[in-house]
């Protein structure tokens, strides 16, 4: 093997390891790992299962809110959420039918919402404004209409 | 020829090493799982039930001295458990029924301890106990509200509880018998109901005859 090649291979290997270390550090030390909640639910009985029998927004602490939300073709329940600026919002999500995506443009909220699984994701909203919430996994004829907003005041 | 002898010798040496390794690794071919090793260890150590505050299904608070001069038959559980715990408690109730009734409440008390104090408040425990016909007196269900006290008990009795992050726990299950002085004297397989009942009865009979 040529010397330059050895250098290149070492660099390549090093680069991959640096990626691994950063990803690991962020996921485990900073708890910035991707949404991975493991709870299961009967997808055909979402309406009867707590907490999804009462979807909505609930204040659970100072500047802390819990949003229990169901996704179904082609809407989010509840929709048009309002929270004060600076609040941390914990989303608890599940799907009542097909696979949906939950994305809030301009934030790092991006999660798959599968039928049969409860997904959780948390975000702190510092800046006031209207955030666009949309479904980013194709879910049917009205997929492009599946959107709502989060208003941060 | 000489080389061959080296080989044979080396092979024998390696096998001997293997035997020694496995012998010490399994406490003399006794314990192939950590669970067996743990139980054996507990029965040797006879740890004392620590001084912790229990809160039972009636909301009464007391320490283990409540059961002074009585044997205590203990299990560990959490009420949201859907798999092992109901089975464990069902088996416990069978042991309860198999023991001669004259000892119950007099010489022995049954106690189910929850390791999920956040969710298992007295009210929940009260509801749960009815499902197993526990009377709340001679068979009590209790939680240990203080987490650090709970941890010290679990550690002493070798109960391993791992939360799985979704509200469930993975845990080992057994029947524990604590003697009149508050020392753990026996750990029994919770699936062998008859054997456990026989063992406990024998202990009680010997004790009262003395």
């Amino acid at each position: 093997m040529h010397r330059s090649e050895k250098i290149w291979l070492t660099l390549s290997f090093g680069m991959i390891m640096v990626f691994m270390i950063f990803a690991g550090y962020q996921a485990f030390a900073l708890e910035m790992g991707p949404p991975s909640h493991g709870e299961r639910i009967d997808p055909q009985k979402v309406d009867q299962t707590a907490p999804f029998d009462q979807p909505g927004i609930k204040q659970i602490g100072e500047n802390e809110y819990e949003v229990v939300m169901t996704l179904q073709i082609f809407s989010f329940t509840p929709s048009d959420i309002e929270v004060p600026a600076g609040s941390t919002v914990h989303f608890t999500l599940t799907s009542k039918d097909v696979v949906h995506g939950f994305q809030v443009a301009g934030t790092n909220i991006n999660a798959m919402v599968m039928p049969g699984y409860v997904q959780k994701i948390t975000q702190k909203f510092d800046k006031a404004g209207e955030y666009l919430v949309l479904c980013n996994e194709y879910c049917g004829a009205g997929h492009q209409l599946m959107g709502t907003t989060i208003t941060v005041k | 020829m000489i080389k061959n002898r080296h080989n044979t010798f080396a092979s024998i040496l390696v096998i001997l090493f293997g035997i020694v390794l496995f012998y010490f690794g399994t406490d003399g071919f006794q314990a192939f799982t950590a669970e067996t090793a743990r139980v054996n260890q507990l029965m040797d150590d006879k740890p004392r039930f620590p001084d912790v505050t229990l809160e039972d299904s009636n909301g009464r608070k007391y320490s283990i001295s409540e059961f002074k001069d009585k044997y205590v038959f203990i299990t560990f559980l959490y009420t949201s458990c859907a798999t092992v715990c109901p089975q464990l408690e069902m088996n416990m109730s069978k042991v309860y029924d198999l023991l001669p009734s004259k000892y119950i409440g007099e010489d022995i008390v049954f106690l189910s301890i929850s390791f999920d104090p956040k969710r298992d408040d007295p009210e929940t425990l009260n509801k749960y106990k009815d499902a197993f016909n526990s009377d709340g007196e001679t068979w009590r269900m209790a939680r240990i509200p203080n987490q650090s006290e709970l941890d010290s008990l679990l550690k002493k009795f070798g109960v391993i509880v791992i939360p799985d992050g979704n509200g469930n726990f993975s845990h080992n299950s057994a029947f524990y018998l604590v003697d009149k002085k508050g020392r753990l004297i026996n750990v029994m397989d919770y699936q062998e109901i008859d054997e456990a009942a026989k063992k406990v009865t024998n202990i009680l009979v010997n004790e009262t005859e003395e």
């Binding site: 050895k6 | 061959n4 080989n7 092979s11 390696v14 390794l21 690794g25 799982t33 950590a34 993975s170």
Partner: protein, 185 residues
Amino acid sequence: MNQKTFGLGLFIFLIIPPVANLMESVMIIHMHMQMPILVITGFLMAPFFQSKFPRFFEKWNQNGIPGILLFIIVVGYWMLPRTMDEALELWAVELFKFISLPFLAGVPLRDSWRKLGQAGKNAVIIFFSIAFITMGWLYINATMQLCNNYLLIEQITLGWGFLTMGIAFVIFLGYRFFFNPSAYE
């Protein structure tokens, strides 16, 4: 980068506490990734020892049998549910794991493998196929938690891991049986 330094680097990487902890947090990764990679590090480092002590290997492992026996014993020992638990709880056992797998399993495996005949190699693979399938069956069907530090589901996962590995070995044996390499080489 030659394989000796690569093996040493990999070995050091594996014993870094965060790496070790992460790998040990999942039962199947502990047994089916960390442990085999430890063996592989020894395998890679073996030429160092072989060139340092050529007489030793020549004298005591001439036909490869003592070495392969040592390999089987050490690997077999680490397949016990108990040893996995203790590696997590007692630092001495953990240390023994990091020493025994590379140096008492990886090194002798490399030295012995070439010295074993075709029949010997097949016998070793057959042994591990049977052992893995049995362990797999045991772990999948055990309703009891065998390891105190791992969930029951991880135990079942490990069982399937054993079973699939066993099947892969059987496929390999079948390939060796049906396709005679001498027809191609």
